[in-house]
Symmetry: D2
Amino acid sequence: MSTTRTTPTEDPAALDRTDPERHIAEAAEAYRNWSRWGDDDRLGTLNFIDDAERARAAGLVRRGASFSLSQSFDMDGPQLGWRRRTNPVHTMLDTGTDAAAGLQGFPHGIGGADDVIAMPLQCSTQWDGLGHIFDRGIAWNGRPAGDVVTSSGDQVTGIEHARSAIVGRGVLLDIARFLRPEASDTDADNAAAGELPDGYAITTADLEACIEAQGPTSAVGRGDLVLVRTGRYARALREGWNGYAGGPSPGLSFTTAGWLHRTEVAAVATDTWGFEVRPNEFDDAFQPLHQIVIPNMGLTIGEMWNLEALAADCAADGVYEFLLVAPPLPITGAVGSPVNPIAVK
Amino acid sequence: MSTTRTTPTEDPAALDRTDPERHIAEAAEAYRNWSRWGDDDRLGTLNFIDDAERARAAGLVRRGASFSLSQSFDMDGPQLGWRRRTNPVHTMLDTGTDAAAGLQGFPHGIGGADDVIAMPLQCSTQWDGLGHIFDRGIAWNGRPAGDVVTSSGDQVTGIEHARSAIVGRGVLLDIARFLRPEASDTDADNAAAGELPDGYAITTADLEACIEAQGPTSAVGRGDLVLVRTGRYARALREGWNGYAGGPSPGLSFTTAGWLHRTEVAAVATDTWGFEVRPNEFDDAFQPLHQIVIPNMGLTIGEMWNLEALAADCAADGVYEFLLVAPPLPITGAVGSPVNPIAVK
Amino acid sequence: MSTTRTTPTEDPAALDRTDPERHIAEAAEAYRNWSRWGDDDRLGTLNFIDDAERARAAGLVRRGASFSLSQSFDMDGPQLGWRRRTNPVHTMLDTGTDAAAGLQGFPHGIGGADDVIAMPLQCSTQWDGLGHIFDRGIAWNGRPAGDVVTSSGDQVTGIEHARSAIVGRGVLLDIARFLRPEASDTDADNAAAGELPDGYAITTADLEACIEAQGPTSAVGRGDLVLVRTGRYARALREGWNGYAGGPSPGLSFTTAGWLHRTEVAAVATDTWGFEVRPNEFDDAFQPLHQIVIPNMGLTIGEMWNLEALAADCAADGVYEFLLVAPPLPITGAVGSPVNPIAVK
Amino acid sequence: MSTTRTTPTEDPAALDRTDPERHIAEAAEAYRNWSRWGDDDRLGTLNFIDDAERARAAGLVRRGASFSLSQSFDMDGPQLGWRRRTNPVHTMLDTGTDAAAGLQGFPHGIGGADDVIAMPLQCSTQWDGLGHIFDRGIAWNGRPAGDVVTSSGDQVTGIEHARSAIVGRGVLLDIARFLRPEASDTDADNAAAGELPDGYAITTADLEACIEAQGPTSAVGRGDLVLVRTGRYARALREGWNGYAGGPSPGLSFTTAGWLHRTEVAAVATDTWGFEVRPNEFDDAFQPLHQIVIPNMGLTIGEMWNLEALAADCAADGVYEFLLVAPPLPITGAVGSPVNPIAVK
């Protein structure tokens, strides 16, 4: 690994598209948080949230309006089988039709229905755990990937360790409404008003301008849970999935790693499959921003969130901050988790 | 069904153990909430929570301490295969050992781990949906069971409809600490201090006395989310599952249906597999209280919750109320959902 | 149901495309085998095979050449999620990479790999069990469908009952090579030589002419296991699945039910997803031939078989009969089963 | 690894129970078949079967009697969750009760049932693939385990390669009936007549004496598929599983590796969970015979077979040879496969 520290560019135009290795090495070096919370750490930037922050976040609740930020979990989801990621298969162990037919064998007229599910943990609205991505064989906090995640699961940073951590102040950055309040005829992929086109790389400048435009409830700082709306899911609701899972998409630029680092946010989630812009900003690349923020920075990332109702509400009242409660299921050793995040305003 | 309305007894000793049908018919009649929230209702008593209630609940947060009320989700769980309910099977699609061995085929040194799960929706900490139980062929709000839950899932009251509903004021009733502050040598099933023995039926009188003893933060009323601690899970932590799933257990008496109805609570959860006392209070019976509260009352029930850390905290500071955020995963058509409930004090 | 017995037409051109109900009722009446093997029967036409037939079939083996007639079982299969039918998801519980990394905890240098699968029973090469299809609410042998197949599976005719039955004389009818020895430019769906185009309905006349042309080793009679090759799978191998699962396809005409009945074959399998021609031969229909042959005739049907290597061998040596051993997995209560059928010549 | 070749003992009493490493190293060295069938080999000892052998095997069929050698696949199986091995979970996608209730939406009165399964590939009657076991990090034919089996499955010796191979002459060695034609009162584990007690290690001498006693139809040689009956499954049928999966059991002694090697059998299967005697014959050991025969010898092993009906038939007519057709499901990359083996006499 590079030992000469170079300040990574935050200008996408300055990236050398042919040299992802150099940019990745520089950014990894610059934004690495290893040992910041001790050698035994399992939480990464979620450590930025403390009880006082949580108490302040609860204090943001005014009306008591509750928003689910989850997409649905069913066979109509976007997954196409890439690397065996399917949509959830939900089946019944007992049904009302069986109960109505008197076939269940229970006494005194009680009947029941029961069900099972088989699903990838990252099939729909989800958190990426810290064991989800490695940088050149190394997992979060500098641990060898092979020591961390075996076929028995994540032995060190399993998502169960974050079971009570993801409660704090949420901030919505509605980049899509900010940058594209109106649609134009020329958009290649039919992005409507309030939707970014595929391939649009959200920059640090975009993030900062959006915060400025949205006003003081959008200020982002230590321990915040930042939700970035691109409008990609809104387009899927209008026109069908159409490549939502793994295809081109708006998303964060590789060059936002610096902003994510210096703001000391606890977690970031988007309404896209892959968090970062796709196609990626290098000629031959796969999710290079993941490679910086998960194993090096220790950032927990949310994907495939449904920000539509919340964003409409924020646009209506101009308040972009709220209490966010988004605990993973404590699946022992998991490197991701389905989640139904709740924002309360 | 009986049409003469009889006031059901709230004294367990007055139950005729040989006649569950009569007691069930009386209680169903007395505590039925059908059409209370319209013919299209999908939420039952969760309707008791409104935004104002949620805002008040957020106002209860003082320190910002966050408690996960979930047990683990893994193969070491309590399930024994009854009616095909197994423990979760979590397997990896990609691992760190593969990444370390350079076998994943990704560019620029990125590696990843990914995972899937197969599990009953009621294998660990969970909500029972309104489609989970039927009374003599009838589901919540008076609908024929066969019209509601088919092999395609719950077509009407699927748990996805409650995706943003379960946010409100939580109240812990630590019946086990209240009734058994000290252990005695004579307990058949080795219940320690702060644990009720198997077969102990919690009565309305117990609930009211506990509220009185715990003080004003324990007052229970409309829209509250009530957590009843029996200590059964504490015993499992000490001695192993030992029949936790489906065996004898302390739990609510059938005769508490009246209290659950008149307090207008939104939901109730316990630290046991089955919510109600086991063996049940009739000679030949299976979960008769479920038969009253789910299809007739429309009550959402939580089971297998981990109340240990929260209970210790409440015992320490004497404050038994908190913000509770416990959204189900919006699995389309599900009759139950795993959940990681979060209490914030 | 109709009680006037009408001889169903065996000429596809004589079908009234607007009246599937009439044709189905007539064919069901004409070809029904209910009670032919007693009221308790669980095997249907598999009863046509007896030990003497099996001994004769074994006597057909000359060279000892073994042919697997199975397609693969993996995520690259044809399933698109229709009615929750996915491709198989195969995951590892233990791996060689873990073993190589010394992470398994076994003594004396032993290491291991282990795996699980989640799959629809009809995802790839398969048998349809007798509980798979119902005719107007009635299952095989005249039993009410709701008494036979509940959410606990097929309580009566589960495929486990056929565990030792499907061993006998196989006969390949290579209709595609017979009818289309050469390709023409005008085929709408690019069917090559030896492949029938989509929508081609194989008639009784086609079957009989093929048998005549193939010669005496193709004679079809009581207890035979008949394999009908359409070439649809060959096209999928050339051009990709392209609608293989559920799209248009060549297949048996509805009007072949009479031939299937009077020849007294034990089972029939094809190289297509759906056995019968698609689009079906009525304007608004779904698999009408299934409705006759499974619940009424008691015929076991195989689908998605890989007949390519066997067909090439038969074409080469002119011998179209062989020993066929194709046992289902005895999955208790299953209405279908994956199978790796073996032909031995 | 040891390079001095020592002839391993075939006398269990001569084993040093404290030194499995030495005995394993010696046996591995002595019985290794690496490169015997070329560097690309994927079949191991299955190569011993050729077409002529298959033709001879078919010629053994006299009566045409077909025997399924499979146990059932359902939730009532023996698995207890060890290393995430559960019993199969079979659920319905569509049911007869739904069809009877008119809820399926199909035209002209057709209804259907459909199903899925989730199961370990080694949950019931099965073949161990060549990628199932490693010896000191090395898989069959001398390949590094980490190059062979990743989280994507067995990249080299996946069981799909054996899809047409396992067809040949089967021979039943009914060691249990031979050694224990009568039961005695003193058996610790209640083994009845025709059942070996737990911990009984079948020796080379036992195998040879059994062959001698059973007569010429039991002669074992190159390419044979040998079935060894211990009676352990018979006991499970009488008294329940009682540790069948993973507990003590009769089985082959570690010292039979030499016999397995020099007889050049193609595959061996038993009616036990683990093929070899348990407890194993070393103080601290886990399945040491597996470590010799799979990665070193290339032997395909069957476990959990149901030999009861076949054994009764062989005892009755004195004929212990038959055609055996036992193809694995061609699950791409699998290290094991469920199988319903068919013996035809």
